[in-house]
């Protein structure tokens, strides 16, 4: 490794932030761009399943909270696209990668929101899992990324509490409401566990990312942490986790889950989830339908500039 490589890794090891103007290995830059943009895309695509319930939220208070939440996600997308841009890639390039299917986004957003309880379940489970994944990233070696994550995590944990509270309200409610809550847990439980990625022995990129401090815990570690917390929350809610093999291991002090259906994970990742096509089409449609708007805004700005120059 050449000298600047040593200096770079030394900084990383000593937890000194790498900044946009610092030298960095090409692979580090590429890995970061991929990771940050995937995360940004996930925020944007992730708006869709929740936005699906804005017009049908069951109370005005919930409607306002949901609108604000989805708006926050758009904001997260903005922070993250900006962080990615500091690595020398434009937002339009990143959109293009998303729209052509080259870039990925979290496959959890390829599941549909069928009932209002899904909004609770997403907040409780999906945001809960996201926070597990994201809190360590607040100390990521790349400065702009780490700083974006600090803001994001703060809002995410607010969303997570809101989601849990929606579930709690349902579970303290009528029989029909409890049924909605249980049905949502049934559908979201396993996909949420898959959010942590493949099993450690099947996760090739992890070692390098750990060395670069853009990953600090293994997939299985984070998943276990999530399971331990969430199973107890489910018990508190009076809901049944849809896993017959789930049991508490008194030796390790951890909950052991049954086997995850990795074939489903692979199917969804590779495009065959319930909503992959629908989500991508919605994003592409928004982008294409908006083309004339963006052109008009640009043309107007250009005319204004010319007028100012003449004056």
């Amino acid at each position: 490794m050449e000298e600047r490589g040593f200096i770079f890794q030394d900084k990383v090891d000593r937890e000194i932030r790498i900044e946009p103007t610092d030298w960095m290995p090409e692979d580090y830059r590429k890995t970061l761009i991929r990771q940050i943009s995937q995360h940004a895309h996930s925020e944007i695509v992730g708006m869709l399943p929740e936005a699906n319930w804005i017009t049908r939220a069951p109370s005005l208070r919930r409607k306002a909270a949901l609108l604000a939440k989805v708006q926050d996600e758009a904001g997260h997308g903005l922070y993250l696209y900006s962080a990615a841009e500091t690595l020398g890639v434009s937002r339009d390039e990143l959109y293009d990668q998303l729209h052509t299917g080259k870039a990925k986004y979290s496959s959890i957003f390829n599941y549909p929101t069928l009932t209002w309880a899904d909004i609770g379940a997403i907040g409780w489970l999906v945001d809960g899992a996201a926070i597990m994944n994201q809190v360590p990233l607040c100390r990521a070696s790349y400065g702009p990324y780490a700083r974006a994550m600090v803001r994001i995590c703060k809002e995410e944990s607010f969303h997570q509490r809101q989601g849990f509270e929606i579930m709690l309200t349902l579970c303290r409610g009528t029989e029909a409401q409890k049924r909605l809550a249980q049905d949502a847990l049934n559908r979201w439980w396993w996909p949420t566990l898959m959010m942590f990625g493949p099993r450690d022995d099947d996760s090739p990129h992890s070692a390098q990312s750990m060395r670069w401090r853009i990953k600090r815990f293994s997939n299985d570690e984070l998943r276990q942490k999530f399971v331990d917390i969430t199973v107890e929350q489910a018990t508190y809610l009076g809901l049944t986790v849809p896993d017959r093999d789930l049991r508490f291991d008194t030796e390790t002090g951890h909950y052991r889950t049954g086997e995850i259906d990795w074939s489903e994970f692979k199917a969804v990742i590779s495009g065959n989830g319930p909503c992959n096509r629908q989500r991508l089409e919605a994003r592409v449609k928004a982008w294409e339908d908006g083309a004339w708007v963006r052109e008009a805004a640009e043309a107007h700005a250009h005319k204004l500039k010319k007028k100012v120059a003449i004056a």
Binding site: A51, P58, A64, W116, G290, A291
Partner: protein, 248 residues
Amino acid sequence: MPLPTYLLHLGDDALVLGHRNSEWCGHGPVLEQDIALTNIALDLIGQARLFYQYAATVLGDGVTEDSLAYLRDVYEYRNCLLVEQPNGDWAHTTLRQFFFSAYQYELYKAMKTSTDEQLSAIGTRSLKEVTYHLRWSGEWVVRLGDGTEESRARLLKALETLWMYTGELFRPAPYEEVLVEAGVAVAVDSLEGSWMEHVRRVLGQAGLTVPLAPAFQAGGKTGAHSEHLGYVLAEMQFMQRAYPGSTW
């Protein structure tokens, strides 16, 4: 009872336009504008809640902001026709917002001097929000009118479609007339001049002129709506209708 009806009218206007704007959430042409329009939707729904909450205290008898929003059918809604029109494209949405914000701007400015303290407080508070809505939407009208040939054509189409709904904003309904005499309600007919001035100025900046066609559509304020509102309510009210008497 004119006061609760008036409050429902004010709340329905805000809620229905907030609903329409919220349909854009996640589908806007630019991320920043998606956020901006969602913000406006949030403000409008917030305003609706203030009017409904006030109406609920006047009506008593277990009425809540949610029972008012979710348990009235279309003929009981009192919003003007403009706000229930479908979103159409970005030109329709921003022009509709501009027409309505320019009206709300005058409305809330006048409401600040209402003899009803609560209305006066709501007017003061909401005016700040609407000032931003008006600037934002007005800027879009200018941008689209001045932008490209396509954006100008779309804005013209929006103008042709929406203009006929603007007249209703300034026609007082019977429940307003009673309350105007009492100094409670705003005399909407007195707002038309300033509104028209503002609209003329912004359309002028966009290179357009105020249409000569009559702005004749009316009826929403007394419950005679277009066919669009029923679909809005079927969707919006589903949960409260399907799971009556639940807490959310």
